[in-house]
C-alpha cells in the first residue's frame, strides 16, 4: 500500500453548520499544514468557535468534509479527535483546584497510570519545552499562566499533531504571553500544526505564518499576517464594505445626564475584567456607543452602571447630577435610568414568566400602576405589556406567552420596549441587537435614535460596528477594561476603531505609567 504524502495535515472543506435559522458556518474551507501556526481571526459571532468545535469533534457539521492527511474522515467525538492527534486548550480551563498538577493531568489521560512515573514525565516535558511546572504543586496556588501551562503539558503528553489554542492570551500577562509564543514557535518547528484563535492583531502578526479571516460565517481572506498591518487586518475582520457615513444628527449639546468619573471596579473572580479609570459624559439627546471585542469589560461596565455591582465611591456615577455609585438598581431606576442587559433570557427577562409578569421585573419600584401596597396589579401589568407589544410590533403565538416562547428578535423588542415605554432620562443598553433578525434590529435602532431625540442620554455598548455607525453620535472603544477617548462618529474610521479594539490606547497608558 502506498501512502500518498499530502501537503496538508487537516483540510476542512465547505463546512456548513446551521443552528435554527442561523448559518454559523456557511461554506468555510480551512487548510492547515504541518509545522505552521495558523491564525483564525474574526469578530465575535463570525463562526470561529463553531468551526473549531467541529474540528475537535464537539459539534457535527450540517454539511462539509474533513480530510486528515488527505483521507476523508468524520470526527465523531472529542475522544476520536484526540486519538487522531488533535488537542485543544480551551479559554476557560477545566482543572480541579484542590488537586495537584500531576493528578489533574492524570485525570485527562486514558487508561491506567502510575502517578510517580507520570510526574517524572511531566517534569521532563515541561523542562524540555520551557514550561516550568512542579508536578506536586496544588492548582489552587498557581497563577493563571501556570494553569494554562498545565493544560498545554496535558495536550503535549498526548503527542498532538494539531494543537488548537482558543484565545490563549486573553488571560495572560504580556510576559506570560511571550513565553507562550516561544513554546508555540518551537512546537511548529517540530512539525506540529497550531490553530491559533485570537483577535489580538499584533500578536497574530508576530506569531502566525498564515491567517484565515472569517466574517458572518464565511472566509473573507487568507493572508500572510506578516505582510499585513494591524489596520488592514482589522479592516478585513470588521468588513470595509460597511457604510462609514453614519446618520449624523447634529444635536445641540445638552447637559450631561449620565456621568462616569474615574470609575474603577476590581475583578471579583477569574475571567472577570477589571475596569480602570473610566470617565465619560453622556449628554441629553446623544447616543454614545462603546465599541470593543467581547470580554474586554463590557458586561462589567454594564453591571457597574446598572448597580448590579456596587462601586467604591458614590460619585463614580451621576445620573442627572445625582451621585449614585453605591445606590441599588431600583434607586437608579427611580432617578430616571433604564437598563437593557445583553442576555435576554435569564437576565433581562425570566424565561418561564409571562410577558406581563416580565413587565413587573424592572418596573415594580418605578411604576405605581404595577404594585400597590405590596400587591401586584395584574391589570396594570397587562396594560403596559399590551402597550409595549403594540408599539414594538412584538409577534407572539398567544395573548400572554412565556418569555421563552418568543423568538430572539421579538423578545428583544419587548425587553427594549419595556424600558423605552418609561421614556427614561438615561438609557444604558448592552448589545442592543445581538442575535436579532434584521427587521427587529432596524426597529430597535430606530427606537433608540428617536428616544435620544426626545432628550434622553443613551449609552449603547455594542460589538456590531455597523450598528454603532448607524446610531452613534460619539464613539469610544473599550479594551481590557480601559475606555478610549470619545470621537465624533463622523471623524473616526473603521481602521482607527479596529486599532483601538486591539488595544492601541492601552499602549499609550502603559507608556504614561512608565514615564510616571
Amino acid at each position: 500500500m502506498v501512502k500518498v504524502k499530502r501537503n496538508y495535515l487537516l483540510e476542512a472543506l465547505h463546512m456548513v453548520k446551521v443552528f435554527g435559522e442561523l448559518h454559523a458556518n456557511d461554506g468555510i474551507t480551512l487548510r492547515i499544514k504541518p509545522g505552521e501556526i495558523h491564525a483564525l481571526l474574526g469578530e465575535n459571532g463570525a463562526g470561529k468557535s463553531t468551526l473549531v468545535k467541529m474540528i475537535y469533534g464537539a459539534l457535527q457539521p450540517t454539511s462539509g468534509e474533513f480530510l486528515w492527511q488527505g483521507a476523508p474522515i468524520s470526527i465523531a467525538s472529542p475522544a476520536f479527535a484526540r486519538k487522531l492527534g488533535i488537542a485543544m486548550v480551551f479559554q476557560h480551563f477545566s482543572l480541579f483546584e484542590t488537586l495537584t498538577v500531576a493528578e489533574n493531568i492524570a485525570l485527562a489521560l486514558p487508561g491506567r497510570f502510575n502517578l510517580a512515573k507520570l510526574s517524572e514525565k511531566i517534569a521532563l516535558v515541561s523542562k524540555e519545552y520551557g514550561l516550568p511546572l512542579v508536578p506536586k504543586a496544588v492548582v489552587a496556588d498557581l497563577s493563571v499562566g501556570e494553569r494554562q501551562r498545565i493544560e498545554i503539558v496535558r495536550c503535549l503528553l498526548q503527542e498532538p499533531r494539531l494543537l488548537i489554542m482558543d484565545e490563549p492570551t486573553a488571560v495572560l500577562t504580556p510576559q506570560e504571553a511571550d513565553q507562550l509564543f516561544a513554546v508555540l514557535t518551537r512546537l511548529a518547528k517540530e512539525g506540529r500544526a497550531v490553530l491559533y484563535i485570537s483577535h489580538r492583531l499584533e500578536e497574530v502578526k508576530r506569531l502566525c505564518h498564515t491567517a484565515t479571516i472569517l466574517r458572518h460565517g464565511k472566509v473573507v481572506a487568507n493572508v500572510d499576517p506578516a505582510k499585513e498591518t494591524a489596520a488592514s487586518l482589522a479592516k478585513l475582520m470588521v468588513g470595509g464594505d460597511i457604510h462609514v457615513v453614519g446618520t449624523q444628527r447634529k444635536q445641540r449639546a445638552g447637559t450631561a445626564r449620565l456621568q462616569l468619573r474615574n470609575l474603577n471596579l476590581p475583578a471579583d473572580g477569574p475571567f472577570v475584567v477589571e475596569l480602570k479609570n473610566i470617565s465619560l459624559d453622556v449628554k441629553a439627546g446623544e447616543v454614545v456607543a462603546i465599541a470593543g471585542v467581547a470580554g474586554n469589560g463590557q458586561s462589567e461596565m454594564f453591571d457597574a452602571i446598572s448597580g448590579e455591582r456596587s462601586l467604591a465611591h458614590n460619585d463614580m456615577i451621576c445620573i442627572d447630577g445625582e451621585p449614585c455609585g453605591r445606590s441599588s438598581v431600583n434607586e437608579r431606576r427611580n432617578l430616571g435610568a433604564a437598563f437593557v442587559p445583553e442576555e435576554r433570557l435569564g437576565h433581562g427577562a425570566v424565561p418561564a414568566f409571562k410577558l406581563s409578569e416580565n413587565i413587573v421585573l424592572t418596573r415594580h419600584s418605578s411604576d405605581p400602576s404595577l404594585v400597590r401596597s405590596g400587591l401586584l396589579q395584574k391589570n396594570g401589568a397587562s396594560g403596559v405589556s399590551d402597550r409595549v407589544i403594540k408599539a414594538f410590533d412584538v409577534r407572539k403565538g398567544k395573548p400572554d406567552p412565556e418569555a421563552r416562547a418568543l423568538s430572539g428578535g421579538n423578545l428583544q423588542k419587548f425587553v427594549v420596549g419595556r424600558e423605552l415605554d418609561r421614556i427614561p432620562g438615561v438609557l444604558v443598553i448592552n448589545q442592543p441587537t445581538w442575535g436579532v433578525d434584521a427587521g427587529a434590529a432596524a426597529t430597535i435602532r430606530q427606537a433608540i435614535i428617536d428616544l435620544a431625540r426626545q432628550g434622553t442620554a443613551v449609552l449603547a455598548i455594542s460589538q456590531d460596528l455597523d450598528e454603532i455607525f448607524e446610531i452613534a453620535s460619539r464613539i469610544a472603544v473599550l479594551s481590557r477594561g480601559q475606555l478610549s477617548e470619545t470621537y465624533a462618529a463622523g471623524e473616526i474610521s473603521l481602521e482607527q476603531i479596529g486599532l483601538l479594539m486591539a488595544g492601541a490606547h492601552e499602549v499609550e497608558e502603559v507608556r504614561h505609567a512608565a514615564s510616571a
Binding site: Q60, S328, G348, V350, F353, V360, L361, T362, H364, L376
Partner: protein, 367 residues
Amino acid sequence: MRLLLEKRAERSRRMIFLSPLIAVGLTLVTGAIIFALLDLNPLRALFVYFIEPLTNSWSIEQLIVKATPLALIGAGLAISFRANVWNIGAEGQLTAGAVLGGLVPVFFPQWQSPLAFLFMILLGVLGGMAWAAIPAALKNRFNANEILTSLMLVYVAQLILDWLVRGPWRDPQGYNFPKTVSFSGWQLLPQFKLLPDSIGPIYINLGAILAVAAALSLAFLMARTLKGFEIRVMGNSPRAGRFSGFSRARTVWFCFLLAGGLAGLAGICEVMSTVGQLQPSISPGYGFTAIIVAFLGRLNPVGALVAALALAISYLGGEGAQVALGVSDKIARVFQGILLFYILACDTLILYRVKLLTNQSAEASAA
C-alpha cells in the same frame, strides 16, 4: 430505535397536572410488583394499603391528623423550593418547635389559661424559626450548602430532645420512662366536631384549621404579592432577580424563617394533640415526607394540602398493612421514596415531550 426528549417551547399546562398523576400510577404499578415479589396478592395488598384507610370515619379522622403536619410543613417547603432554597431540615425545625413550646408544660404545668396556650404556639413557631435561622445564616455568611447544614441539624435537634426527656425534663412520676409530664387542659389543642354524630363523628383539632389557613394565605402571597413575585423570580433566574433589585440573602432568610416557623408550628401542634407530651420520638418523619408533599403538590401551597392527604394515606396504609399483611411498616417509606422518584422523573415531561425514533428517522434527522 431510541427515545428522544424534545424541548417544548413553553411548559405544558396539561403535564403540570398530569405528571403527579402519572407518578402516582407508576408508584402503584411498582408497588404491585413489590407485593407480588413478597408473595402477596398485589390487588388485595394495594386495597389494604390505599383504599381501606378511607372506609370508616375513625380512619378519616386519623388521615386528617397525619395530614395536618404534612400540609403545614409542605406548604412552607413549597415556597422555599420555589426560590431554590433547599431546606431539607424541616424535621429538625419541627423538633425544635416542640422542644421550645414544651418549656411551658414542663416548667409551668399549673399555668392553665388561654394565654398559656397562645404562648406555647408562639414558642413553637419561634423554635422552628430559630433552628432554621442557623442554616440560613451559614448560607449567607459562608455560602455553606443549606442541604447539608439543615439536614445535619435534624439530628442535633433530635438528640437534644432525646437528652432532655431522658435527663433534665423527665417526668419524676413517670416510672423512669423517657418522657415529660403529660400536657393537659389549656396546654392541649382544642378539638372541633367536623361532622354530626349521625354521619359518624369526625373531630379535628385546631392544627388542621391552621394548616388550611396557612396554605391559603401562602397561595395568595405567591400569586398576588410582590414578595411572592420576588420568590418566584429568585428561583427561576437569580440573575434576573438581581437585575430586578431583589437580594438573594433576603430570599434565603425569608424562606428559611417561613418554612422553619411552619415546621415549628407543626411540631408544637403534634405534641399538643396526638402525642400529648415530649418523648424521644415525636414524629414519624413528617419533616422529610413533607418534601415529597411539596413536590407532589406542584410546589403550590394549596397543592400541598391535597398532597398531604395523599401521603397521609401511605402512613395509615403502612400501619394497616403491618396488621393485615404482616409486612413491615417501613414499606410506607419505600412507597414515599418511589413516589418522589417518579414525580421528579415525570416532571421532565412538563418541559419536554418524548419522541420515539426508529433507526431510519434517527438517521434522517442526523443528516
